[in-house]
């Protein structure tokens, strides 16, 4: 799975994720694949929890 084919792969209803090898070594590429997994949406839950969420 790469940034180039991630969006295409995640359009499939059969595909629930990916184990990303070489492309994961570059943070920018892994971030692009993660974004593709979310259907291209960048908004959502914060990766870092807000202070009130920490317990």
């Amino acid at each position: 799975m790469t940034p180039a084919n991630g969006a295409d792969l995640f359009r499939s209803p059969e595909i629930d994720g990916g184990l990303v090898g070489g492309a994961s070594l570059v943070a920018k590429d892994f971030a692009a694949i993660a974004t593709a997994a979310g259907g291209g949406l960048t908004a959502g839950s914060a990766i870092l929890p807000r202070p009130l969420d920490r317990d």
Binding site: M1, T2, N5, D8, L9, F10, R11, S12, P13, E14, I15, D16, G17, G18, L19, V20, G21, S24, L25, A27, K28, F30, A31, I33, A34, T35, A37, G38, G39, L41, T42, A43, G44, S45, A46, I47, L48, P49, R54
Partner: protein
């Protein structure tokens, strides 16, 4: 639009020193301040970088994964790492049966994890399977030798039809030239078939909100 929960795991293999790993983690958190709740992320550094990366990711939604987990809880197994050691570092996923560990130089075999769950490891560590090599093997048409994906599934504990531990089956595709959607679908179907055979169809089917095999 609703999405099934998806798990995307960075498997770094034998790359990145702890310092390089920490740089990557810092960069990722800068690049991805937000992500849809239906996407789970995990990173599998080499063992020496687990603690440092784990400390950085601990307050985040990015989970820590191990690239391999040994079958036994402790003992005279030089160089191996147990599930309990990994869990103590905050690891929540472990890759098992990876095809690269099954090649000759390392030589992990089918069924490397014992059938008896009680004798093996902490039940909360989820297994990740990798099935992408199956298609490559079949496309080569050699048909000889153990099927890496089947081997991964055979490494799972639990008898057919009986509940196993949490299993998250995800895969990447080894051969980029084959890494289109059709390949991915075929590989996932193949892997689900194996999981279905092992744990029953209910646990292997894709569900509306999350993967059922967990």
């Amino acid at each position: 639009m609703a999405f099934r929960t998806r798990l995307v795991v960075a498997n770094w293999k034998m790359n990145k020193t702890p310092r390089e790993a920490a740089d990557w983690a810092g960069e990722l958190l800068t690049l991805l301040p937000d992500l849809p709740a239906a996407v789970e992320l995990a990173v599998a550094p080499a063992f020496p970088a687990l603690e440092r990366v784990g400390r950085m990711l601990q307050p985040t939604r990015v989970a820590l994964a191990a690239q391999d987990v040994f079958t036994e809880p402790k003992g005279a197994f030089t160089g191996e790492v147990s599930a309990a050691m990994l869990e103590d570092l905050g690891v929540t996923f472990g890759i098992v049966g990876h095809s690269e560990r099954r090649r000759e130089r390392i030589g992990d075999r089918d069924g490397v994890l014992p059938e008896d769950e009680a004798s093996r490891r902490q039940p909360d560590l989820a297994d990740l399977l990798r099935g992408g090599d199956a298609r490559r093997t079949r496309l080569r048409g050699d048909g000889a030798g153990p099927d890496p994906a089947a081997g991964g599934a055979r490494s799972l504990p639990g008898a057919p039809g009986r509940p196993g531990p949490r299993v998250r089956a995800r895969l990447g595709h080894r051969n980029r030239a084959l890494g289109d959607a059709a390949d991915g679908e075929e590989a996932h179907r193949f892997l689900r078939g194996l999981l279905s055979e092992r744990y029953g169809t209910e646990r292997a089917r894709p569900s509306g909100s999350s993967m059922a095999v967990r």
